[in-house]
Amino acid sequence: MSRLLLAVPAMLGVFVVVFFVIRMLPGDSAEAMLGASATDAQIETYRAAHGLDKPAPVQFWIALKNLFRGDLGDSLSHYRPVLSVVLERLPSTIELAAYGIVLGSVFAVILGVVAASFRGRWPDLIITAYSTFGMSLPTFYIGLWILMVFAVKLDVIPVSASAVEGLPRWKTLFGPVLTIVVGGSLVRTTRSAILEILEEDFIRTARAKGVPKALILFRHALGNALIPIITMVGYGLAVSFGGAIVLETVFGRSGVGKLLIDAITVRDYPLVQGTTFVIALFMIVANLLTDVAAGFADPRIRVAGAGEL
């Protein structure tokens, strides 16, 4: 609950930072949008029409007032309210991030557990090497290869998923999600979390009780390892969202990441502010959810009441 209240200053912080940072970008929307052949007259008309000629503080005050009314202003490059442009593309990015994180985590946790249980022996080395290697390859590299293999060679999915009508959902997601899963870094976190927990005293008690190895691993060790893993998932979101920008370019998905890149290129201030605001909101809510989930997994937080001294 209290963390939610903390999110408000963070959100305002994001809004202010973005507002002024983007204005420091050299060149403005008029120049970037109208291109090299624009005449001075065209640039003046464009600036006047979109209120770019007002001084920054005035623009800031207007933007802030609109923000509280939930209006993120109109996009310069899309001639539509920013909110509608962003909401139109948000689902595709959220869908990508969600499937990526969920499948990625499940896949990574299993590999992490296997690696931990075979500590030091060949499965551990293979899995560690794979996960380190997976993390080392640039996202676009993995993405393009997956596209080449699954789309062109195996003809399992279309290359430009968004172009084709009536495609089953999993086909639109297969490429990008596989890229996230392959590049996932959660394997190492799971492995080290489990290794650390296997040293704890209650594991020794469980062995003294005669609990078999697999049960120790899945019930006792994994149960406790979930807490650090979930927090890492939350943190991994910031990284994977960055990756999403690259993924959307490679797989031709029109998501919020790509929208933001182009908005920056054409200096569409309202759109950049709106998109960053929505992304930041989504990120903070996601971090919050992971905190709550971590709290849920750890009874020491969920069930208050200090032990009788």
């Binding site: 050299p26 291109g35 090299a36 968004s162 797989f251």
Partner: protein
């Protein structure tokens, strides 16, 4: 220890197999014929109607923004626009104009009155009624409407139009203040696309951006700009629709690799490529390629207000430092040609036979030494960092390096690039410069009143200004040609712009696509195209 570990391992393996089999099973659902020469319905398209209706898949790789022609900077700002909208007259590839929405026209009292007789029975899309002279009047008058915020008022030379009259539904009369030799050419270009008055009255000024209404061979059929837009064939189109395309789908794809893969798999019927290697590759594989010249020119410009280029000797050295032939042979494989002036040949009033390049790096070093830079001069070369801008920038930097120029290359984000040149802080830059079909803007921008601003080269030459002034106010076409030619010769002599080559796009098409016709205004249109 052993048993349980293996159990966990099989679990992981099972998961992977499961994932793989799930997709391979997808394969057996019969995803349409593999990409063969016949009708390459995209393998992903499961919709049964694929084989009866001919759907043309195309792509755009830049961000499309809005449908309102008043905001267009070029005809292909929106890929489907040329097929949805139409103008009064059509620009032919040879520069002459032919009837389109206007069946005939006549010019009277010394070029001050133009009377257009409109085609009868032309219907606006989606039942917005018949096309009348009121639509033409509305299209021109909305240019000055602040709600529209049009950027094309100057292109249409609105200030020179005294009045527009509609004596009846099918005739419209333009009363000019002064003679405008290029009015007809203007009427054929993207900024004079006729928009529907009824639509604007009924749904408001901004409605054009959410639901574009035109009179062209294709009708807008939904989708969002920047993601995917579609248009369906206009069965009641007045013109002769010789092709067999029923629907066209334009998808936004920005990664070149993804585009090549989609094209190789037959998911795209055509795509515009800049990369000459790739074009050559497809040509060798027997794909039909149409070379569409663009109103673009690759050039290296310098700012004569900034040191060292304020010294004419340095500028002369610069004019000997770049090997145009190397560009033509190794970068463009002979598909492009050298240029006579800073205005590309495909633009009206372009001077084609004046500037001759000669490449003499030694002479350039010698000149630099004379100008006081015995061991070469330090300069910063600005370029755009996108896939199009990098190759010429790297080539230029390499060649200048061999001619005594120590070049610090700055390939930056386009916004940053524009800001540098417009503020007059960029010494030297290399760029594909876009011009209009009529050269007015390009020639007018180097007059001293435009510095700093669009006059990046910092030219403040009275003689050039006078020649440009005379050209703009020329009474007859010939007079305009003469003064514009003189102006171009004057600027080339100042040696501030070193034109390298023309630039064109290679429209690569699937083998079964035929009938593509190129148009004077370089618009991409499919009404004559048939999918085999």
């Amino acid at each position: 220890m052993k048993k349980t570990g293996i159990l966990a391992l099989c679990l992981a393996a099972a998961l992977c197999l499961g994932a793989l089999s799930a997709c391979s099973s997808g394969n057996t659902q019969g995803d349409g014929a593999p990409p063969s020469a016949s009708s390459p319905a995209p393998s992903g398209a499961d919709s049964p109607a694929a084989d009866s209706a001919k759907v043309y898949y195309m792509t755009t790789n830049f961000e499309e923004s809005w449908w309102d022609p008043a905001l267009f900077m070029q005809i292909n700002d929106v890929s489907l626009a040329p097929m949805i909208y139409e103008t009064l007259v059509e620009l032919q590839t040879d520069g002459t104009v032919a009837p389109q929405l206007a069946e005939s026209w006549d010019i009277s009292d010394g070029g001050l009155t133009y009377t257009f007789n409109l085609r009868k029975g032309v219907q606006w899309h989606k039942g917005y009624g018949e096309f009348t002279s009121a639509d033409v009047k509305f299209t021109l008058e909305r240019q000055t409407d602040p709600a529209v915020a049009s950027v094309n008022a100057d292109n249409l030379n609105i200030a020179n139009i005294a009045a527009i009259e509609c004596p009846d539904e099918y005739t419209v009369v333009f009363k000019l203040k002064a003679a405008d030799v290029d009015l007809l050419t203007r009427m054929s270009l993207y900024y004079s696309i006729i928009v529907c008055k009824a639509h604007s009255d009924k749904d408001g000024v901004a409605s054009i951006n959410s639901d574009p209404i035109g009179t062209g061979p294709f009708v807008y059929d939904g989708g969002t700009l920047g993601i995917k837009t579609e248009a369906v064939r206009n069965t009641e189109w007045w013109g002769d629709f010789t092709g067999n395309v029923d629907r066209v789908v334009s998808t936004f794809m920005s990664d070149t690799n993804t585009i090549y893969m989609a094209f190789d798999k037959g998911e795209l019927h055509s795509t515009g490529l800049y990369d000459k290697d790739k074009i050559k590759e497809y040509e060798d594989k027997g794909y039909p390629v149409v070379n569409v010249p663009l109103l673009q020119l690759l050039y290296v410009g310098v700012n004569m207000q900034l040191e060292p280029f304020d010294n004419p000797v340095v500028r002369e050295a610069f004019f000997n430092a770049i090997d145009v032939q190397y560009f033509l042979d190794n970068l463009y494989y002979g598909t492009e040609s050298a240029v006579g002036s800073y205005v590309p040949p495909s633009s009206k009033y372009a001077l084609t036979d004046y500037f001759k390049f000669n490449y003499d790096p030694e002479r350039s070093k010698q000149l630099l030494a004379e100008a006081g830079y015995p061991d070469g001069v330090e300069v910063t070369l600005w370029g755009a960092s996108d896939a199009l801008g990098q190759p010429p920038a790297i080539l230029t930097q390499d060649q200048l390096g061999k001619a005594g120029f120590k070049v610090n290359l700055q390939c930056v984000d386009f916004g940053v690039f524009i800001d540098q040149v417009r503020n007059g802080t960029a010494q030297m830059w290399v760029l594909y410069n876009t011009t209009g079909a009529i050269a007015d803007d390009t020639i007018n921008r180097y007059t001293s009143k435009s510095y700093p601003g669009s006059n990046w080269c910092g030219v403040t030459d009275a003689e050039y200004d006078a020649l440009v002034e005379a050209g703009l106010n020329a009474k007859t076409e010939q007079e305009k040609y003469d003064s514009f030619y003189a102006a171009q010769r004057r600027l080339m002599d100042l040696q501030v712009i070193y034109p390298i080559s023309t630039f064109s796009v290679g429209e690569v098409m699937q083998k079964n696509v035929s009938g593509y016709k190129s148009y004077g205004d370089l618009g991409f249109r499919l009404q004559t195209v048939t999918i085999g």
